[in-house]
């Protein structure tokens, strides 16, 4: 039992290793690549189940495994892995959903030439995500955070021939980077104030009382900065713009990364560093948590409104994800951490189910993604329809059998009891109605009514694709066993509270309220759209009834509330202008300065050249001319006549004699 605790890092390392091996394979070895990826994921799932078992021992179970990375000067940078109920539950969800999606991809991407590269990237992502949830150090979490961001970029832009995919990948990476900048600043500040980035370290960790005590008032700002990272990664307003564009990637990618796991990392982060957010709470309310609530509620409502007007099957689900993530953020903000994480886990299952179901529909319709061109697929894709309907019921919040309903109930319950304000609760109720409405709209467009253009030649997906759908549908239904208020096992497991079995808790006024609202939403959807199947004489069949009723509002929502265009006019235009200004400065100003300094050097060179030429060279030339002149003079004495030389010798001898005689 303790073996797995000592080797927690294996859970992340195995998919990484699988990814490395797959990268070394060629594109032709598709079966080996797929098999390796699936085996890696199965092993990770097995290890996750193994880690799950010890956490059941005692409430509030937490064990850490810290190690030193490197020392600089006198300080040591330590990293570590942690195992507690939060991490174990996340591991289970990620591993299981990942496995289902990997198996599904074998069928969905069967005709793709780059299947090996696909599985390498997916394995890489899986390893990074698993590592993220067991990280005990904010730095290690950030490392894995960036790795999943990289994997997301690689996978969104997987079809490198598509320029829209490349643009979407770039947009995703840059938008999340903006959030990551805040995250990094918060991390630095936290390290500066508390001296450690480890979460739990035998009392000295930054989330434990000793570490928190060193923070004081800066805890709010640190929490908000770290929340920036969550805003970027989980697609909260205002950094939500990348998530719908990320649908350019293959559908399994959307299912794994942008529904179940990576976008959940932001919510997980807030839950992980919750003690930072809730430091100094009065009645469970702090400034940072209030910010979380309001951003979450804005996101939830805004995304739900936009989803009603979308026509692409995956975009509806993408905006639905954004909306549900907002819901989870609200839950965390009002203090319902366990409720938020429960909804995260349930959402992972049913959103993956919905995305894979849409993948099955797209596969069946030979690549068509516009719901207005589909219709009547209920009898042509029966299995897909049943599983998709399961997911839709869970997402809409129908309780009884569907996990999503119970977790949404918990979230609403927590929000209703927020002491600060009741507005988020009412806004979330509106969101519930909208969610049910747009999901019903989508189901009716795709599965009910008359068959439209893309519904011809449609076939049910092969078993390799439908079995993961069935598995996820069963998980969605079975999961509700541990979620009901009569036996809130998961809530007690996550929060460490004691567990009671109480049948009476099933009857609650709030439950009826949300039941009624869900019913209203679904009924409204049916009433508006069921007639869409039948031809209305006043309205052509292609136009959405809502669009016919309120064209301006519908167009506003269908264009994503023009937020992308707003960013384009403001932030991007500003950054473009700054870039051009910098370029101009670099080209003319700084370059001019450098050239000026160069000119000074050149002047110096000219000066030395002239000195050299006119001064030194001329001097040397003059000297040599003089020497030559002297030489010419002296060579005049060389007449070549022997007798002249002999005469000179004689005169010299005479002179010496005279000198000798004079000296003697």
């Amino acid at each position: 039992m303790s073996w797995i605790i000592d080797h927690l890092w294996l859970i992340a390392a195995i998919p990484f290793a699988a990814s490395l091996v797959i990268l070394s394979l060629s594109n032709a070895q598709r079966k080996s690549g797929a098999a390796l990826a699936v085996i890696g994921q199965v092993l990770a799932l097995a290890l996750s189940i193994l880690t799950f078992v010890p956490t059941l021992q005692a409430p509030g179970f937490r064990v850490v495994q810290n190690f030193a990375w490197f020392t600089f000067g006198e300080q040591t940078l330590r990293l570590g892995f942690v195992l507690d109920p939060l991490a174990a539950a996340m591991l289970m969800m990620i591993a299981l959903v990942g496995l289902c999606i990997f198996v599904f991809s074998i069928g969905y991407m069967a005709e793709d030439k780059n299947l090996t590269r696909f599985f390498a990237y997916m394995s890489f992502f899986s390893g990074a995500m698993l590592g993220l949830v067991i990280a005990n150090s904010l730095l290690l979490l950030f490392i894995f955070w960036e790795l999943v961001g990289l994997a997301s970029y690689l996978l969104i832009g997987f079809w490198i021939e598509k320029p829209s995919a490349a643009a979407a990948a770039k947009k995703a990476f840059i938008t999340t980077r903006i959030g990551d900048m805040g995250f990094f600043l918060g991390m630095l500040w936290l390290y500066g104030r508390s001296g450690t980035l480890l979460f739990y370290d035998g009392g000295n960790g930054c989330l434990e009382s000793a570490g928190l005590a060193m923070l004081g008032a800066s805890a709010t700002f640190i929490a908000l900065l770290i929340f920036c990272g969550a805003v970027g990664k989980s697609g909260q307003f205002p950094l939500h713009v990348w998530l719908p564009d990320a649908m350019e990637g293959p559908t399994p990618v959307s299912a794994l990364i942008h529904a179940a796991t990576m976008v959940a990392a932001g919510v997980f982060l807030v839950a992980r560093v919750y003690p930072l957010f809730s430091l100094g709470a009065t009645n469970g309310v702090t400034t940072s948590l209030t910010v979380v609530v309001w951003i979450g509620v804005t996101t939830a409502l805004m995304a739900a409104l936009i989803a009603i007007a979308q026509a692409d099957i995956k975009r509806i689900l993408a905006y639905s994800t954004v909306s549900q993530l907002g819901l989870m953020m609200v839950s965390l903000g009002v203090g319902g951490v366990a409720a938020g994480i429960m909804h995260l886990l349930a959402h992972g299952f049913f959103k993956a189910l919905l995305f894979l179901g849409s993948g099955s529909v797209i596969h069946g319709c030979h690549g068509e993604q516009d719901i207005r061109k589909m219709g009547g697929l209920r009898r042509l894709l029966p299995l897909t329809f049943v599983t998709y309907a399961t997911g839709m019921m869970a997402l809409s919040g129908v309780p009884f059998f569907f996990s999503g309903g119970w977790t949404k109930e918990e979230v609403l319950h927590a929000t209703a009891h927020w002491p600060r304000s009741h507005v988020p609760y009412y806004l979330l109720l509106a969101g519930v109605v909208l969610t049910a409405l747009y999901m019903t709209r989508q189901i009716i467009y795709v599965f009910f009514g008359n068959r439209r253009s893309a519904s011809t030649h449609v076939h049910e997906s092969p078993r390799v694709m439908t079995i993961p759908l069935i598995v996820l549908a069963i998980c969605t239904i079975l999961f509700s066993v541990v979620l009901t208020p009569t036996w809130p096992w998961l809530h007690a497991y996550l929060s460490g509270e004691p567990l009671h079995f109480d049948l009476a808790r099933l009857i609650q006024p709030m439950l009826f309220v949300s039941l009624v609202l869900v019913g209203v939403g679904i009924a409204l959807g049916f009433w508006i759209y069921q007639k869409a199947g039948a031809q209305d004489r006043d309205r052509p069949a292609e136009i959405d009834p809502l669009e016919y009723a309120q064209p301006a509002l519908f167009r506003f929502l269908a264009n994503k509330m023009w937020i992308d265009e707003l960013y384009g006019r403001t932030v991007i235009a500003f950054s473009w202008k700054s870039a051009r200004l910098s370029d101009w400065m670099d080209r003319y100003f700084w370059d001019g300065l450098v050239r000026g300094v160069g000119a000074i050097g050149q002047l110096f060179g000219i000066f030395t050249t002239s000195v050299d030429e006119r001064g030194i060279n001329a001097g040397v030339d003059e000297t040599t001319a003089g020497t030559r002149g002297l030489g010419r003079l002296m060579s005049g004495a060389h007449s070549g006549q022997i007798q002249t030389y002999l005469g000179a010798v004689a005169i010299g001898m005479l002179a010496l004699l005279l000198l000798y005689a004079w000296l003697a």
Binding site: H638, S639, G640, I642, Q643, A650
Partner: protein, 104 residues
């Protein structure tokens, strides 16, 4: 009249001057060689004179020197004549005024 040392020296000096004059002013190369021979003879005469009128006669130093000198003069004359012939063969002239190849 008894020969005195001064007499010999005067003769020797005169002989030397005449030889020097010949060597310096004649155009023909052989005449310059004759002049050089005369200067050598004058030197020999000087050696003999100083030996004759010196203190000891027994080691005949002056005579030996004069003998060697004559031998050397002969060899030198041979070499000089050979050079004149070689020069004549090349330049077709014995007029030293025309032999100024080393001019410069």
């Amino acid at each position: 009249m008894t020969p005195t040392l001064q007499g010999f020296l005067i003769v020797s000096a005169a002989l030397f001057s005449i030889g020097l004059l010949a060597a310096l002013s004649r155009r023909h190369a052989i005449f310059i060689l004759i002049g050089i021979e005369m200067m050598l003879a004058a030197a020999n005469l000087n050696f003999i004179a100083f030996w004759r009128f010196g203190p000891q006669h027994q080691p005949p130093v002056g005579v030996m020197i004069a003998l060697f000198s004559i031998a050397i003069a002969a060899a030198e004359a041979a070499v000089g004549l050979a050079m004149v012939i070689a020069v004549y063969r090349h330049y077709r002239t014995t007029n030293v005024d025309q032999l100024d190849q080393l001019k410069g």
